[in-house]
Subunit: 340 residues, 2 copies
């Protein structure tokens, strides 16, 4: 059991809990021998779900959590008061190094607050960013930051660029990842005050491959691997990605059903189209890690199904094996030294 | 000629000038008797294009412009120095009330600067917003502001909401248009400093139908008619709309071409799909007006073809007929009075 990756999973979080969460955990351990999952939630409900599946018993353990933090609850208060909630218990297990990672589809606010307050930041990290992978024509890109802490400072964005590069290089396997800052034009003198101040700082960073500004138009084309922005902008990009993809698909579907001939055509294209659209499905890439913490916290979408839960759990393996947190720590230390 | 709408058109602006621009102008006057177009550009080139078409000669006049402002030129300098450029001449015609409107696919920067410096703002307007219509599942929405002046103040956003409501009501014909502010959550307490300060001000406006925050995910679903944001965010939304739509369509096309059966299916669905996608094509809705000026200036996409040029020209008719500028002026006056 020594080399196992231990992942705590919030069995009560999200719209499809506990059913899809438990199923995802079972799928993950059935796929890999090196993962142990600790499901956290109301034991009766979780046990009831677990009974339906066959899996190596030693790979799933259960920790009872009496309380659940609801999405609508004010996060700071919820984390402080609900000590017996699945989120607080999971975060504490990571803090105490009993678990390597915590995966939750629960309240974003509570996960962001809990990550900072309970798990805690790596020394030198100013603000831990939430960094989901988004699909592009060429593969995936890391959108950093999409968290809840808006109105960032230039130094935050520089750290995001560094942390994001480490993540893309070692977890996703991109050699010399291209880093770009979201801007409203390609030229250095364009942008708002934050971008104008950050741009020259990024140009000076010798440890990243900074390629300049990226306009939102180029993001889906895969022009950069690490897309740096403050959280308000990141949030707009992430959510527009979701909204526009689903709207365009529904427009396409409506078109397919509009005539008799097109309906027949739709039947013929369905399998091929399904296969291709999979490659552009954000949920396939696991969750969004909250980076820069002393342990790993992964936020998955509230509507996550078993496949996303499974992918998020498996994503934790590369994070641990590649010692991402040590690499972040060393990078922060050496960049601090560079300043002296 | 008294009741004609007079539209100056930059024959030299954009990637497809002068060919597509001239064609669009011809299409517009062939469609409507009440439009007179003044094409501005190198007369030889424009005349050469015009020769190819049949149209009512009195509806198209030509003004020679020796110079062209290139996209890469610093806008302020270009507007100051190139007095004989199509953009400066066109703006001056609007300023002197010889023309009702100016349409250009040229340098965005020069159009924004020229609009403010040459045409000038309506008294009381703090910052003229660039406001394109974007397609949604339910029709269109006005995205206000997408201009180049970033780091806006709350009072700017409040004016955008008011001006945008007038535009959607009288030009697009939406009764009681729903106004929402772009935010990263639905709750009032969410957002960056700008949004948090603006939100209560919008709630107090009795002359608009403010519905609260809108997350970027909901924009394509058509949940609001007037989408208020500062220009950096607006720019990201507009350009991601363009980039993601083209990427998703190319992903879908790739899927359609992946198997023999799907290729046959693709042939069957093509006509129906094309028809539906048209409704989701941003270019169908004319250009983006630069609102709050003493005359009308419309920016169209640099890659505009004849159809977009024609639509932008025709859009000017409703703007003039509905006396949008008078309505904006009266609204500003009455809202100023409200403050006293």
């Amino acid at each position: 059991m020594q080399d196992m990756i231990k992942v705590a999973v919030d069995a009560m979080g999200g719209d499809n809990a506990p059913h899809e969460i438990v199923k995802g955990a079972v799928d993950a351990v059935n796929m890999r021998k090196d993962i142990q999952v600790c499901l956290i939630g109301r034991s009766e409900a979780v046990e009831h779900e677990l009974k339906q599946y066959t899996y190596p018993k030693e790979q799933i353990i259960l920790t009872h959590a009496e309380e659940v933090i609801e999405t609508a609850e004010p996060p700071v208060m919820a984390i402080r008061k609900k000590k017996q909630s699945s989120i607080v218990i999971g975060m504490n297990l990571v803090k105490q190094k009993e678990m390597d990672a915590f995966v939750s589809a629960g309240s974003s606010g509570a996960i962001l607050v809990g990550g900072q307050v309970i798990v805690g930041r790596i020394k030198g990290i100013e603000r831990p960013p939430l960094a989901p992978l988004i699909p592009t024509e060429k593969g995936v890109a890391l959108l950093i930051d999409c968290g809840a802490n808006v109105d960032a400072r230039p130094s935050h964005l520089v750290q995001f660029a560094r942390i994001g590069s480490i993540y893309m290089k070692y977890v996703v396997g991109i050699k010399n990842p291209k880093v770009a800052i979201v801007n409203i034009g390609a030229e250095e003198e364009k942008g708002n005050a934050l971008v104008k101040e950050t741009y020259p700082l990024l140009k000076e960073c010798e440890d990243i491959h900074f390629t300049g500004s990226i306009e939102a138009r180029e993001i889906p084309h895969g022009e950069a691997d690490v897309i740096v922005c403050e959280a308000f902008t990141g949030n707009v990009i992430l959510k527009l990605y979701e909204g526009l993809s689903s709207t365009l698909l529904s427009v396409v579907k409506k078109g397919l059903m509009s005539t008799f001939v097109s309906k027949i055509g739709a039947l013929l294209i369905k399998p091929a189209l399904k296969e291709t659209m999979k490659s552009f499905d954000a949920s396939a890439y696991g969750g969004a890690p909250l980076l820069g913490l002393t342990g790993l916290v992964v936020k998955i979408h509230g509507s996550s199904k078993a496949a996303e839960v499974k992918n998020a759990i498996i994503q934790c393996v590369a994070f641990k094996e590649q010692k991402i947190n040590e690499k972040i720590k060393n990078n922060i230390v050496s960049s601090e030294k560079g300043k002296e």
